[in-house]
């Protein structure tokens, strides 16, 4: 037989190993190929390729990047939710083998990983991107091109992670990926490589986003906007960015060391040669606990905006809101060991981290009380975003209370890794983060697209989603008390676990229906949109509502001078009383520099993707080609100087005139 290049049989073997070929995989491969071909065909037929490239793929506009994050996050919510329903179906009855053990293990791993890294994080960044520059009166973020790089690193990492389902097998060691289960000795398919590589990739993007928004908020606020006049969502972004800055480096190292163990023969966390798995656990949770607050602080920010707007009242206790949020940010670094009280750190360490865990409940409680008192003396409007806020209060309070119970160290020995824990973190992550982010999406949708999402359908989606939530997760607390531990793919008869599991599964499907209604809400609202010409459909309070929807590419024709917290609320009254003109004066408008589109971010993402794919299969020529590509694009971009194009004052005046925004 003529000698093939040595990598060819290797590639065939690794891409198509006999033990991972499953009907589901082949089906998914066919569907993905067909879907991709159809999209390309549609784009070519409608001559949309050029449009896509110019308007979206090479854009550096924070508003468009935010929308791309949003689309990706909703798709990932669908994927992660489908995973969840597969898990729930398998657990509906004892010894039900809807999917087998190996598949179940892959599915719960991808469910957790996707929901945390590829759904919640991009949804948060979507809101950061869309809202923060508008809220602080800025023309863009501090580093528009880095912002696009962050997005494309995330997008390609998400693509890579999802590719694992069809090529080579998915990771199967849980979203925490504790060694030595992830070591080659116990896990010889490429699944875990996918996990480590794609998380490293998206982690780089996330870190850059953290830096970007931190600098944006520190350096680019409108004149007069002191720290204590910043809207609370901006405060949340600031605190989240600091958390990202300090939390992601330990994760990077934990992932890198695990990956090196698998692909380069190091012995950090293996059983032989002195490796120590517990080091991974420490590094991972040093990231993991701040990550919890990275996920929830933005939601707190959204709630603070939503409750004030729809109570038609100032936020209650602004200084204590800021103080509590910052306290949470600081304390978040001091609680990571509570994820493994049961790893024998000794009573002194456990007591310290148990108390710090309880301590963090105090500022969280302060926020809840302040929100309720914001409603007190207001006039509540039950719009969809407000409903998500209202649903959050009982959910988050119960989830927080069980969190305190988990912090009571001896009790945690019983709760640890049981369904009680599963119920707890879903209750805070869905009740806090997801409700918050959905509230934010409904609230700022008109700012992004210029029309509201249909409120009636939105409420249907809400009642299904929030209504399905309770029967899904409340039974799981009890299942934990009945001794059911997490990540079991099935369970024997006679444990008494089936009734509650059935209820939980039914609840899960109701939530799934809620997601479908949400998607149809988005699509139908787009078809039957009623354009909002005011730019301020909710009668808002902060800067972003003072400009047209969707915002023009330069955001603010003239940057306002901010003199109070709810600047737009006060400004509206001043404008009504004729104290101030209704818009920027034409003579105040100056030329504006707009960052130019650039292909660098998407090319960088593609080069990373190529290198990462090579790394997953330890196919070094591809990996090195990708690395060379990364350097090539970076060096090319270092020599680029002319990043801006100038919009003349005349053009801006015309646009503003067209939007009917010019003051006399």
């Amino acid at each position: 037989m003529p000698a093939l290049p040595s990598f060819v049989p290797y590639l065939i073997h690794t891409l198509f190993p006999p033990w991972v070929r499953r009907p589901t995989e082949i089906g998914a491969e066919i569907m993905m190929t067909a879907g991709g071909a159809f999209i390309v065909y549609w784009l070519l037929k409608n001559k949309k390729l050029q449009w896509l490239w110019n308007e979206w793929l090479t854009t550096v506009d924070h508003k468009k990047i935010g929308i791309m994050y949003l689309v990706a996050a909703i798709i990932m919510l669908g994927r992660g939710g489908l995973d969840a329903l597969m898990l729930r179906t398998n657990l509906a009855m004892p010894t039900l083998h809807f999917i087998n053990a190996s598949e179940y293990n892959e599915v719960f791993t991808t469910h957790g990983t996707i929901m945390v890294f590829f759904m919640a994080m991009p949804l948060i960044f979507a809101l950061f991107n869309v809202v923060v520059p508008l809220q602080i009166g800025s023309r863009d973020v501090a580093f528009p091109r880095l912002n696009a790089i962050s997005f494309w690193l995330f997008a390609f990492a998400a693509a890579l992670f999802n590719l694992s389902f069809v090529v080579g097998g998915s990771p199967n060691a849980g979203w925490t990926a504790y060694p030595p289960l992830t070591e080659l000795a116990f896990n010889h398919t490429v699944g875990e490589n996918y996990y480590f590589v794609s998380l490293l990739m998206t982690g780089i993007g996330t870190t850059i986003t953290g830096i970007n928004f931190l600098v944006t908020i520190l350096r680019m606020r409108a004149p007069g906007m002191t720290f204590m006049k910043m809207p609370l969502f901006t405060w949340a972004t600031l605190n989240t960015s600091v958390l990202i800055l300090f939390a992601f480096p330990p994760l990077t190292i934990a992932l890198l060391e695990s990956l090196l163990d698998r692909v380069a023969g190091t012995t950090f966390f293996g059983l032989a040669h002195g490796g120590m798995p517990m080091m991974y656990v420490n590094l991972f949770w040093l990231f993991g606990h701040p990550e919890v607050y990275i996920l929830v602080l933005p939601a707190f920010g959204v709630f603070s905006e939503v409750v004030a707007t729809f109570s038609r009242k100032k936020l209650f206790g602004y200084p204590s809101m800021v103080l509590s949020m910052t306290a949470i940010m600081v304390l978040a670094y001091g609680t990571w060991v509570h994820h493994f009280f049961t790893m024998g750190a000794g009573p002194a360490v456990n007591v310290f981290f148990g108390l710090s865990t309880m301590l963090i409940a105090i500022p969280t409680g302060v926020k809840v009380f302040n929100w309720i008192l914001t409603m007190w003396g207001g006039r509540l409007q039950f719009t969809t975003p407000m409903l998500y806020f209202l649903a959050m209060i009982p959910t988050f309070v119960i989830g927080g209370a069980t969190g305190v119970m988990l912090g009571a160290v001896p009790a945690d020995y019983q709760f640890h890794n049981s369904y009680f824990l599963v119920a707890h973190f879903h209750e805070v992550l869905i009740g806090g983060t997801v409700f918050g982010l959905l509230a934010g999406v409904y609230y700022w949708w008109p700012k992004m697209f210029g029309y509201k999402l249909n409120d009636h359908q939105g409420k249907w989606a809400f009642w299904l989603f929030a209504g399905g939530f309770w029967p899904t997760f409340i039974p799981q607390y009890w299942l934990g008390l009945e001794g059911m531990t997490r990540r079991m793919y099935t369970y024997p008869f006679g444990m008494g676990w089936h009734t509650l599991n059935v209820i939980s599964t039914i609840g899960g499907f109701i939530m799934g229906a809620g997601f479908l209604v949400l998607v149809s809400n988005v699509l139908r609202s787009r078809l039957h949109r009623e354009v909002d010409a005011t730019g301020d459909p909710w009668d808002g309070r902060t800067l972003e509502w003072s400009i047209p929807s969707p915002a023009p590419e330069y955001n603010f024709a003239v940057i306002p001078t901010v003199d109070e917290r709810d600047w737009w609320w006060e400004e509206k009254q001043r404008r009504q009383s004729g104290e101030k003109p209704a818009g920027p004066k034409p003579e105040d408008i100056r030329p504006i520099a707009i960052p130019k589109n650039t292909p660098v971010p998407i090319l960088l993402g593609a080069a990373f993707f190529l290198g990462a794919f090579g790394l997953v299969f330890t196919w070094w020529p591809v990996a090195l080609t990708g690395l060379a590509g990364v350097f090539g694009v970076l060096i090319y971009s270092w020599f680029q100087y002319d990043h801006y194009r100038i919009l003349s004052a005349g053009e801006i005046r015309e646009t503003e005139e067209l939007l009917g925004r010019l003051g006399a």
Binding site: P180, G317, P347, G354, L359, G365, V397, Y413, W470, G483
Partner: protein, 291 residues
């Protein structure tokens, strides 16, 4: 009318349904030993304290939602410019702190109390988690079992946990909380059964494909019966050879097994120095199966 008040009875009803069908199986709520009892007491205390907080918040919340709706003729006061209330805001910090002290103090006490075995020379059982089975070795009795555990009732038993495979946690919910069994370390956990009885245990840490099969049975018997059981095992059961241990290391699930003796290397030998104050990091013993 979609008020939140409407949903509260629904939630309460659900809890009642759950309590009804799950009651007898709630192993954590029916502790059969002092460790589980202490842990349950703390859970109860935390649940009651937190329940009071939840109740207070929910009442306040419900009133706010019902009273301040935006509808015509609502005569509740409308105060759009209220910015805060200094005293209340400080109280929000102080009262929760006081409430948490109620939980924090016993937490500290019990954490320290449970770290000490309440006996000078407790019965020691060396536990090794394997893929996907549990190996129990009785260094005092010189016998070993797989997937089933026999302990004397009415006295504390000290489990020394390690793993020769990915991490697991050793959990007998009715006797008390779990602790990790992980490679390279030996962690202590003591449990006690008040009376003779039969319980089940499981792992709480996912450890691979057949993780679900990491169940084991626990039988608490009188001390006399325990000694008799160990003596009979020494007479009737086969001895565990090195080859037997290597078979256990393989990725398999097995039923119950008993052995009259076991090779010395199967449990990390450097265990004698460990203290209950936090275990110690151990060098991995040389294990041919993983090289």
């Amino acid at each position: 009318m979609r008020t939140w008040a409407k949903r509260i009875p629904l939630a309460l009803g659900l809890v009642a349904v759950m309590a009804g069908c799950g009651g007898p199986h709630a192993v954590v709520l029916n502790p059969a030993g002092p460790v589980g009892r202490v842990e349950l007491n703390l859970m109860d205390l935390a649940a009651i304290t937190m329940g009071i907080v939840i109740l207070f918040v929910m009442v306040l919340f419900t009133i706010a939602v019902v009273r301040f709706r935006d509808k015509k003729g609502n005569r509740a006061p409308y105060t759009p410019n209220v910015e805060g209330h200094k005293v209340l805001e400080v109280l929000w910090f102080i009262i929760p702190a006081l409430i948490l002290t109620v939980i924090a103090v016993p937490t500290v006490q019990e954490t320290y109390a449970l770290a000490k075995v309440p006996a000078k020379h407790p019965l020691v059982i060396d536990v090794t988690s394997l893929d996907w089975k549990w190996l129990f070795e009785y260094p005092g009795q010189k016998v070993a079992t797989v997937n089933h555990l026999v302990i004397p009732a009415g006295q504390p038993v000290l489990f020394k946990l390690t793993s020769d495979a990915p991490m697991n946690t050793f959990w007998i919910p009715q006797l008390g909380g779990m602790e990790y069994a992980m490679p390279g370390r030996v962690l202590p956990l003591w449990l006690e059964s008040y009376k003779p009885g039969v319980y089940w245990g499981h792992s709480g840490q996912f450890s691979g494909r057949e993780f679900e099969k990491m169940f084991f049975s626990v039988k608490a018997v009188t001390p006399t019966a325990f000694n008799a059981w160990a003596a009979s095992l020494r007479k009737t059961a086969p001895a565990m050879t090195v080859a037997d241990y290597h078979r256990l290391l393989q990725f398999t699930t097995v039923g119950y097994q008993s052995y009259s003796s076991y090779p010395a290397f199967t449990f990390p030998s450097v265990t004698h120095g460990f203290t209950l104050k936090g275990g110690m990091y151990l060098l991995m013993h040389n294990n041919p199966a993983h090289d």
